[in-house]
Symmetry: C2
């Protein structure tokens, strides 16, 4: 497995209380994000370690970094991570190595670094970057097949699907960080039997369990990124809930694709989990089923096929107002995995730039909903309830066809393999507010 | 007609040489843009007057502005017009009135203002704003019908068209200002009879004649803009060439809409023509044909119906390398008009925000291709050549099914009515470079 170094050593411990054994942020993870500390005047960059955040601005002032690590820390300490993402892998790796040393048990820097820590519970978290453009792909083949069956029963998976990493331009302005409530949209709804649509609050509000990809160094307009170089353009990963108004979508989406069914809001987890942190969890791209065409040459790279996929467990949980009131825990609706992507992230990125389209640091790519092939791994209510026909039963005795006001949806991601220390993404959660 | 004041007076003359009688930029227009003067160190805001540009930064330094006009001039003098667009109509109107006075024949400020003028020929023009999100609509009903016939012969206009101002998210990063060459994209092409697609340079490269709309003051996420207030959110207008790779589009666009067929580049005219300048050219929204449904109430406003449409002549011209070599002028391919929009700009904007989606200052809306109902008014080659079947004949003896390398496409817009001084948008032009 390539890209492993001392920062991945499962024996490494941290002096930060609670970091060792932390489900998401042990010292082997070290994701970057933008936060405001309690009483802080402005957002700045930080690193999650256990239940704490290391303030990079304070760390710079304390002289914790030098050389390439300092250059990267300067960029990552800013109000957004766009400049840090633009730097690419080498400075990011240097900073990661320095952070791993500083935060390791026995570090001589413990005293100075401890003064730069905040309890995460008291900090406000923000979107990690100003997103220039957001592109949502559709590489979850089980989702594409399931949804295709609902919208086009005769034709679930279109002929282009196994050749083209299908994607579309999403709305960047309405991306929000985890914890921001989402207002139920209004829109044109048309029942199949109705003669005309009506304008009303969405009645089929849904979530979508997606992996988000942060773009690092960009490419100039007109210059495609070859698939073999595409991985170097990834700055990190997050969770993405691509909220979807299924009734608005069904009526509006032909012929130009989803629009208002999606643009009322999308939720992102705040921490940018780096490619370095995920290196131990890379796996070969699963073989295509017998009979599927080989990817066209511009999408095919040996190294990408050998380790371009991710073994990353994903789950989605639901917490209803009634469950909250009765003290019940959030109920897991589905378990899936990022390995169910029909195309790798490098293939998505190479395809995206194959026409010359320029990507820029801080652009966001979504995977599309990542459903597993089994019924316990469906990444949207549309799939779980077969378009609303078969309600989901909850431990509270309630049922759901689609989301109701006050419902909170929580996405989680966790990578864990034997011989590694598992890491997580933190939560991507948001609550539905009633329509205005 | 509302919104008319002394700045529209057809009798007003300017002391700027060449401004009176200028086809695009007489003193009645006064559009805003971002330019770099010869030898200039940085882009800054300016106003087009005849063949000149008034440097707003220099004008501020010379003390030409005071009060609300100065506040607006400060914002408009910056490196982008985003801050100016955010201000809304009242400061913009104050600045327009002051500019009209300064530049009028007999102005006491002539001496000081003349020192702030640059010949436009020596200036570099830039995109007027940093575009956060770009949305392309599809409100040219004749185009939608014509294209629908090519892609879906049995089903040219889908049932939602007359209820929903159809649109989709476009790619903001690849927007470029007029004069920037466009590289022919590569992509997956699949002939109907071929078993599999191949990756090759686009063979069906096309233009699209569109009106662009600059968004002014935005709306908060979750807060819709009522149709009756939507016009106040428009900062101005431009021309937009939404270059389209028809072969890539045909293969990729199902089920999520156009993606790489569009994102390789879109070209904008540099000048922001204000709603104030276009006030004399507002017309009633044309009556819907007998049998068409009325717009749903959230899209219906009396004032918008009475004067929400624009009488704006549009044309598209082609200049091939052979024509250039032989000294032939660009050949007009089509004449159309913005009055062929099935939905008004206010309806587009109200629909866009109806689900709570937030628009921001400097966002761009495209109208979609604006074809006229007659064969001399088709806004794309796809329509003119019936998908490539009937080549267009050029005065050079050449023919075109789609664009060839070296072809230059020029869009123009002009508003003119009896009793007014006509105004234009300047050109939106770009030349096709061969694929890499």
């Amino acid at each position: 497995m390539s890209g492993l170094d001392a920062t991945h050593d499962p024996a490494r411990r941290s002096w930060v209380p609670g970091a060792d054994g932390h489900a998401d942020f042990p010292i082997q993870n070290l994701p970057f994000g933008i936060f405001t500390p309690p009483g802080g005047d402005a957002p700045r960059g930080g690193v999650a370690i256990g239940g704490h955040i290391l303030d990079l601005r304070a760390g710079l002032a304390a002289g914790l970094f030098a050389g390439a690590a300092a250059e990267a820390a300067e960029a990552a300490a800013a109000e957004t991570l766009n400049g840090f993402m633009a730097l690419g892998a080498a400075p990011r790796r240097a900073l990661r190595q320095r952070l791993a040393a500083i935060l390791a048990a026995g570090s001589a820097e413990q005293g100075r670094a401890a003064a730069c820590l905040h309890s995460a519970a008291g900090c406000a978290l923000h979107l990690p970057a100003r997103v220039g453009d957001y592109t949502d792909f559709y590489v979850g083949i089980h989702h594409a097949t399931n949804v295709g069956r609902v919208f086009r029963p005769d034709n679930p998976l279109l002929p282009n699907y196994k050749y083209v990493p299908i994607g579309y331009h999403g709305r960047a302005s309405s991306l929000r960080v985890s914890g921001t409530d989402v207002r139920r949209p209004q829109g044109q709804l048309k029942a199949p039997e109705a003669e005309a649509p009506r304008f009303a609050p969405c009645e089929k509000l849904d979530f979508e369990l997606e992996l988000g990809v942060w773009v690092g160094p960009g490419n100039a307009l007109g210059e495609a990124v070859p698939v073999g170089e595409a991985a170097a353009h990834v700055a990190g990963y997050c969770l993405l809930n691509d909220w979807s108004a299924r009734d608005i979508q069904a009526w509006e989406y032909q012929p130009l694709g989803p629009f208002l069914a999606k643009s009322f809001g999308s939720t992102l987890s705040p921490w940018v989990v780096t490619p370095e942190a995920l290196a131990p969890f890379r796996i070969p791209q699963p073989s295509r089923p017998e009979g599927d065409p080989a990817p066209l040459p511009y999408l095919l790279d040996g190294a990408d096929q050998r380790e371009g996929a991710l073994d990353l467990a994903l789950e989605v949980l639901l917490l209803t107002p009634a469950m909250r009131e009765r003290g019940l825990p959030a109920h897991r609706l589905a378990r899936s995995n990022a390995r169910h992507m029909y195309w790798t992230v490098a293939q998505m990125l190479a395809h995206h730039t194959s026409n010359g389209c320029d990507l820029n640091p801080g652009d966001l790519l979504g995977s599309g909903t990542l459903s597993a092939p089994d019924p316990a791994g469906l990444g949207s209510l549309l799939e779980m309830t077969q378009g609303g026909r078969a309600p989901v039963e909850l431990p509270s005795g309630e049922t759901r066809r689609f989301l109701e006001d006050g419902d909170e949806v929580i996405l989680r991601a966790r990578a864990a393999r034997e011989g590694t220390v598992g890491i997580g993404f933190g939560e991507c959660r948001a609550c539905i507010l009633p329509a205005r």
